[in-house]
Amino acid sequence: MNQVISIQHFREFEAFLDRKLFFIVGMPKSGTTWVQHILNNHSDTVCRGESHFFDILFPQIQRCFQHYNKEILQQGGIVAHLEEYGGHVESLNYKIDDMHLVLLYSIFTMFQKWVSTNKDSLILGEKTPDTIRHLTLLTSLLPQAKIIHVIRDGRDCATSGWFFNTSGMKENHVPARSFDDHICRFLKQWKSNISVAQTVGENLGNRYFEVKYEDLLEQPNREVTRLCHFLGANEDEQTIENCVYSARFEKMGDGHQQGEDQKTAFVRKGISGDWRNHFSSALNKRAWAIAGDLLESLEYSQS
């Protein structure tokens, strides 16, 4: 009989779908990579990324099957002009559920590369910031999965993003957008994406957890303990201390000090509130007009 995908492999796939998975999401430059590193260094968890399962992989999969469906229909249509052909192209059609299953299987395949043996006790996670825009799809396909949403003051995200994007550019290069326009554009997205995520999060109850970058800076052990509690990972003091230490600024940066601006480094400065060094008061007014309500509800101050 068929040993195509072996029964055992199938069972593994099925078990995976019910496994304790978590996904770290957030707006760019919110500290998602930091949280990923912390958790990856915890003995109970593995967190890799960025795999862009929902924003890059799934559209490719969809496109593939949609193209297939269309071609099959077209080919069937040509011959169907002949009398008595009687072909049944409806049995040659991939539905959206099929595409979802292929996506899940692809996700399973990727996770299998990261955890080579079946360590059932491990809590597995993945970080892709952009998954923040696909939470409904993710949670409907993986009902057991947990979401860690990393939030940071949008003004700091935008500022960080500006330096991140421009760091690779030559000195005389003129960016497409001015700093102010970049900030405002980013803040619109920041507000929109976080609002949607929070709405989805409300329906997820205890599968959704928010952590703020600023809180992590100020009280890392406390925040990481809370994270571990959320995930069901070990909250022992030494374990927490170890994983916080393993992702300290000195290690994540390019060898520079925290607070020191290293514009070409991925981990540039590592502080909160740097936006104040770069925003004119006019810009801050604009910023607050765009995202003030959310900033306020997240307890960020206007000035």
Binding site: M1, N2, Q3, V4, I5, I7, F10, E14, T33, H37, N40, N41, C47, R48, G49, E50, S51, H52, I56, Q60, I61, R63, C64, F65, H67, Y68, E71, I72, Q75, G76, H81, L82, E83, E84, Y85, G86, G87, H88, S91, L92, Y94, I96, D97, D98, H100, L101, V102, L104, Y105, S106, T109, M110, L135, T136, L137, T139, S140, L141, P143, F266
Partner: protein, 316 residues
């Protein structure tokens, strides 16, 4: 697509159904039908599909359409990922990973995803619990038997062959029926069409023969002419090959349901309708249409193969 449309509960229900299909599918005999176009592949597909223990559909073009599209998607993903936020990708020890294999889909991954995709579709054809064998027919499967065997080591293969001379005639009228002007402008005569077909045919059948010889437990060849002239015997052969029930009653049932008169909208064999997919349903019609030039080319390129396949008994 509006994300709000997804309903978690209903997706898991559907997922369970899909997974259930796939699980059942594991116990069924997978098979692939192939053969040169106009060799009777559709006839045999229908014949087998009629059997209560067999589900056989076509033409899915898994190898020539699905796999290239899937490969394209995976390759695109693999190529884009390294550029996107790959700062300090972590490996097992939590240090920077330079292994792209940790974040890319490799060939064996592609094989697995392809297998799953093919099975997903085929497993839906066998919802009925009496089904023991599930097959797919695309004529060009014959060019990919090796690939299917690589993906599905336990699958079986049926190669259908027909006298190239009748294939030329059938193909000519088929193409005319689909697009008369286009066909004439492309080939002008049945002879020119034949010249092209002959070369493709001989290449395909040589490959198919090699495959069948190397995997003779899992691959069989059947001639259109044999099924035509001794239907019960060869239907029985097919059913036995697939490991399904091969009683005389079942055989009669299948043959009766797919008799030419049933397929052709009421005509008897020999009554031609050039607008129908089932044009005439006889063997040897080539004598009415092929000229000497074409027959000389057939003899040159295909004579040995035709002999090998036992076709000399049909020569005038």
């Amino acid at each position: 697509m509006n994300e709000g449309q997804y309903n978690a509960h209903s997706f898991r229900d559907k997922l369970d159904v899909l997974l259930g299909n796939l699980t059942k599918f594991q116990d069924q005999q997978l098979f692939f039908l192939g053969g040169f176009i106009k060799s009777g592949t559709t006839w045999i597909e229908r014949l087998l599909d009629t059997h209560p223990q067999v589900a056989c559909k076509g033409e899915a073009h898994f190898a020539s359409l699905l796999e290239p599209a899937l490969r394209s998607a995976i390759v695109k993903y693999n190529s884009v990922i390294p550029e996107r936020g790959n700062w300090k990708r972590l490996n097992d020890e939590g240090v920077e990973s330079t292994q792209t294999s940790d974040y890319s889909y490799l060939e064996q991954d592609f094989d697995n995803i392809s297998r799953l995709s093919i099975q997903l579709l085929m497993s839906k054809w066998s919802g009925n619990s009496s089904i023991r064998a599930v097959g797919e027919k695309t004529p060009n499967n014959a060019q990919y038997f090796y690939r299917f065997h690589q993906l599905f080591p336990n699958a079986k293969f049926i190669y259908i062959v027909r006298d190239i001379r009748d294939v030329i005639v059938s193909g000519w009228f088929f193409n005319l029926a689909l697009d008369s002007e286009g066909t004439i402008s492309k080939y002008s005569t049945i002879h020119d069409y034949g010249t092209l077909i002959i070369k493709n045919w001989i290449q395909e059948i040589a490959n198919a023969n090699n495959f069948i010889e190397q995997h003779n437990n899992q691959a069989m060849l059947i001639r259109y002419e044999d099924l035509w002239s001794e239907p019960q015997l060869h239907t029985k052969r097919l059913l036995q090959f697939l490991g399904v029930e091969d009683s005389d009653e079942s055989i009669e049932f299948c043959l009766e349901k797919t008799d030419f008169s049933k397929l052709s909208g009421g005509r008897t064999r020999g009554t031609e309708n050039r607008g129908s997919f089932y044009r005439k349903g006889i063997i040897g019609d080539w004598k009415n249409h092929l000229k000497h030039d074409t027959l000389v080319e057939v003899e040159l390129y295909c004579g040995a193969m035709l002999d090998h396949l036992g076709y000399d008994q049909y020569l005038p």
